[in-house]
């Protein structure tokens, strides 16, 4: 009797267990990595190669993360030869043939970094340890990007950073396995200062509100240095927590500070909220020191501009790319993205898409997935046809050198997406800088065994 009873119970447990597994949809995720020796981490041995995309799907930068995800999926489609091919025809390197990477079909896994370093690293580890991702890409916060980049260096997996604008990503915290296509705060300062000087005069007094983390710190420093060099004075620089939501307590003191320019070192929802609130407080209608009060948003994106609505009009900022650029590559990418998603891509979509393609191309040119060789193929790589003009992946710090755009919020937008206009394209020679102005070391090339 007991035997029978136990048998029944066990069967029942097995049945419910299997039903649970199938029902909850985890069956296709079963851990398949074998125990055979690998000469480097996650060497793809089957007929597919897995890329890992980590994005902020929740948190202060969730809008950016959603667009980033769209771009990654589009890149995978184009790498596998589906869709219209996007930037593959315009890209100056012709190594990619639309048959995957080295003949292997591109598969992908996605994860939410919650705009937090811990969660980002957790997601990246899941992709590397469980899903066998050979490359990790993503992040739209520099804090997260730096944390993930450090993890990838340890694990021996290449990290193609998404939107990260802090000087530290390719400065103090640069890593051999980390690469950044996006521009940085230092370049923003170089690009925007002359435009601001022209528009607002060279004797302004600036007040900074700064996101309290690596990106905010370095952008504040860069913009401060660049504007002070042309004669501006910095009244105060106040740090605000990321994702604060309400910035009124930080904006009120600006009114009586004696400043006549407010510089918002904020991004994502933070940028939208602080800008909207500053405008609602009537800052732009004020006069200070006998001049019109002005607001500057040094790093701005289409998504933020759309979110800010009326408030963005006339505001200056810098951007990595804009969908309205008139070169063939920008047009091709905008068409391809628009056809799939019914809206133009933002700058984070472009940088993420390009990063995925650049990685795939480097593997093709290296002829192997072996990371040290892929890294060497990316270092010093000169290319064009990706929407940013002639671009160099600098070997010394893994920073891309290319044009920087100074943009301004349109006064009379024709559509909801036509919110920013390019005021000036700052040439690569101007945006260039000496890599050695930032400390930090890239570290070794050695391929790790996934640890």
């Amino acid at each position: 009797m007991t035997l029978l009873k136990r048998g029944l119970t066990r069967r029942r447990v097995l049945q419910t267990g299997m039903a649970g597994i199938i029902g909850s949809g985890v069956a296709p995720l079963m851990f398949t990595k074998g125990a055979w020796a690998q000469e480097f981490c996650n060497n793809p041995t089957g007929d597919t190669v897995t890329l890992g995309f980590v994005m902020p799907l929740t948190g202060a930068y969730a809008d950016e993360g959603a667009d980033q995800q769209r771009a990654f999926l589009l890149a995978v489609e184009h790498l596998n030869g589906e869709g219209d091919g996007g930037l593959l025809p315009t890209f100056s390197s012709k190594a990619l043939k639309g048959n995957g990477i080295l003949g292997k079909k591109v598969a992908y896994v996605t994860g939410d970094d919650q705009t937090k370093s811990d969660a980002g690293r957790d997601a990246a580890r899941r992709m590397i340890e469980r899903d066998g991702a050979i490359m990790i890409s993503g992040a739209s916060s520099s804090g997260v990007a730096i944390a993930e980049q450090a993890l990838c260096q340890e694990m021996g997996v290449i990290y193609m950073a998404g939107l990260t604008h802090s000087n530290d990503t390719t400065g103090k915290d640069k890593k051999r396995y980390g690469f950044r296509h996006f521009f940085n705060a230092y370049q923003s300062g170089t690009a925007i200062a002359p435009v601001l000087g022209e528009a607002y005069g060279k004797d302004r007094r600036a007040y900074h509100l700064t996101s309290d983390y690596t990106w905010g710190w370095t952008q504040e420093e860069s913009i401060k240095n660049a504007t002070e060099a042309m004669g501006w004075e910095t009244v105060a620089a106040v740090r605000t927590p990321v994702g604060a939501g309400d910035f009124s307590q930080y904006i009120t003191p600006v009114l009586n500070s004696g400043a006549d320019v407010l510089i918002l070192n904020h991004y994502g929802f933070d940028g939208v909220n602080s800008l909207t609130q500053a405008v609602q407080f009537g800052l732009r209608d004020r006069q200070a020191n006998g001049k019109d009060f002005q607001i500057v948003l040094p790093l701005v994106s289409d998504l933020m501009a759309q979110g800010a609505g009326e408030a963005i009009k006339g505001i200056y900022g810098t951007a990595n790319w804009d969908w309205q650029l008139d070169d063939a590559a920008s047009g091709a990418f905008t068409r391809s993205f628009g056809a799939k998603y019914g809206q133009p891509p933002s700058q984070i979509a472009q940088t993420s898409y390009v990063q995925a393609l650049l990685y795939a191309d480097a593997v093709e040119r290296a002829g192997t997935f072996y990371p040290p060789e892929v890294i060497k193929a990316l270092e010093g790589f000169e290319f064009d046809g990706m929407g940013n003009g002639q671009t160099l992946y600098r070997a010394e710090d893994h920073q891309c050198l290319k044009e920087v755009l100074v943009v301004q919020g349109r006064e009379n937008p024709s559509t909801t997406f036509d919110v920013l206009q390019t005021v000036q394209k700052v040439g690569r020679d101007v945006a260039d800088y000496d890599a050695s102005i930032f400390e930090g070391e890239l570290g070794p090339y050695d391929a790790a065994l996934c640890a």
């Binding site: 929740t58 580890r125 469980r130 640890a451």
Partner: protein, 381 residues
């Protein structure tokens, strides 16, 4: 009497628990969770929850600030790595001591009140710690960017014996690397020791005293007991557990960020305990595993995977099913977790453990009394 003695029932629980924990790499495979990164998290957060339960489960004091001790443990451990040695043992010891001191200070003040006032006090202290770490003490904590190892850390003890390597060093245990599956086993063994200590506390006279505080503190006062030292001890012990968990987080991944101390993280451990079953030993562990599983696995699902999973359905139905389910996975993982939490609290107030007990009593055909009696609902404070 042997000081390591456990009642037979508890010894069996410990043995079964040890078996379950150590065979995780096998039985987690069908759930897609058998990779070192997540299994380490399972074990670490189990330690955190077990420790939290010593306070909440036994004394009934609902602390809303335990993440602060977790964070303090992490920061202490990373600083030990940076300043002294990459060996994890000193890091663990320092983390437990420092978080214990923090718990002593915070507990000393907070325990002057009970009930909701106590919860609010702990929440306030934790939020203070978070803000200190996040913006005020950035030279020590590196703020939102998180504290990390660098190439030119002093590492006094290590560098007395060896040269600097080319890359960043990684934490080690007596020369053994702390990474991947080895690190999981190290953490798992620590979890078993922590679990055993919690069992000893549960059956000890001290544990009895804590339960008495929970059931009727006023009566304790009338019978001449000063309850505060007992409650404070429980608070410090659970703070030390949290610090230990924090140091292990740093040992498996040498980085300490302020978000670990945020109030949401404190709330998470409360959820873990309630979801699993307050006052039971195993319950909080199950709660911790469930929450970490949702956070890590459900957030990783995307539409392509759902289409793959439901590919056996006809095209139209497949799209509908995917459109519905996709709201609950990926960025919607918190939604499904919230639903489960609501269902558990409404239908199984004793948490998952109550569910398991009801389920097993179905098979036994007769109702057995609860194992220790500790599961009986007691009046709220």
């Amino acid at each position: 009497m042997n000081i390591f003695y456990l009642p037979r029932r508890d010894a069996i629980t410990l043995a079964v628990f040890a078996l379950v924990v150590l065979t995780m790499p096998v039985w987690l495979v069908p759930f897609g969770a058998a990779y070192p990164g997540l299994m380490q998290k399972f074990a670490i957060f189990a330690i955190f929850a077990v420790g939290y339960n010593v306070l909440f489960g036994l004394t009934g004091y609902l602390s809303f600030g335990h993440a602060a001790f977790l964070g303090v443990g992490s920061y202490t451990a990373v600083w030990t790595f940076k300043l002294m040695t990459m060996n994890v043992i000193p890091a663990m010891i320092f983390a437990v001591i420092v978080s214990g001191l923090f718990a002593l200070a915070i507990g000393f003040v907070s325990l002057r009140r009970s009930g909701i006032y106590f919860s609010i006090l702990t929440l306030a202290f934790a939020q203070m710690c978070y803000n200190l770490a996040y913006s005020v003490l950035t030279p020590i904590t590196n703020g939102e960017t998180a504290l990390q190892l660098t190439m030119n850390d002093p590492r006094v003890l290590d560098l007395m014996f060896s040269e600097r390597g080319a890359g960043l060093p990684s934490p080690s245990l007596l020369g053994q690397g702390m990474s991947g599956i080895e690190a999981f086993y190290v953490v798992a063994v620590v979890l078993l020791i922590a679990f055993y200590i919690a069992q000893k506390i549960f059956v000890s006279p001290f544990g009895m005293m804590l339960r008495a505080i929970k059931s009727n503190q006023t009566r304790m006062h009338y019978t001449g007991f000063n309850t505060r030292p007992y409650a404070l001890t429980a608070f410090v012990i659970s703070g030390m557990y949290a610090g230990l968990a924090g140091s292990l987080l740093a040992a498996t991944d040498p980085l300490a960020g302020a978000e670990r101390m945020q109030w949401t993280a404190s709330g998470e451990v409360v959820l873990m305990t309630i979801l699993g079953g307050v006052g039971t030993l195993i319950g909080p562990v199950i709660g911790a595993w469930l929450i970490k599983y949702f956070e890590n696995i459900f957030s990783g699902f995307n539409d392509a995977m759902l289409h793959h999973t439901f590919s056996w359905l006809p095209q139209g139905a497949q799209d509908v099913v995917v459109a519905i389910t996709s709201k609950f996975v990926g960025e919607g993982w918190q939604l499904s977790l919230g639903l489960i939490f609501v269902l558990v609290v409404v239908f199984l107030p004793g948490g998952v453990m109550e569910g398991i007990r009801r389920f097993s009593s179905l098979f036994r055909n007769r109702r057995e009394p609860g194992p220790t009696g500790a599961l009986k609902t007691s009046p709220a404070e």
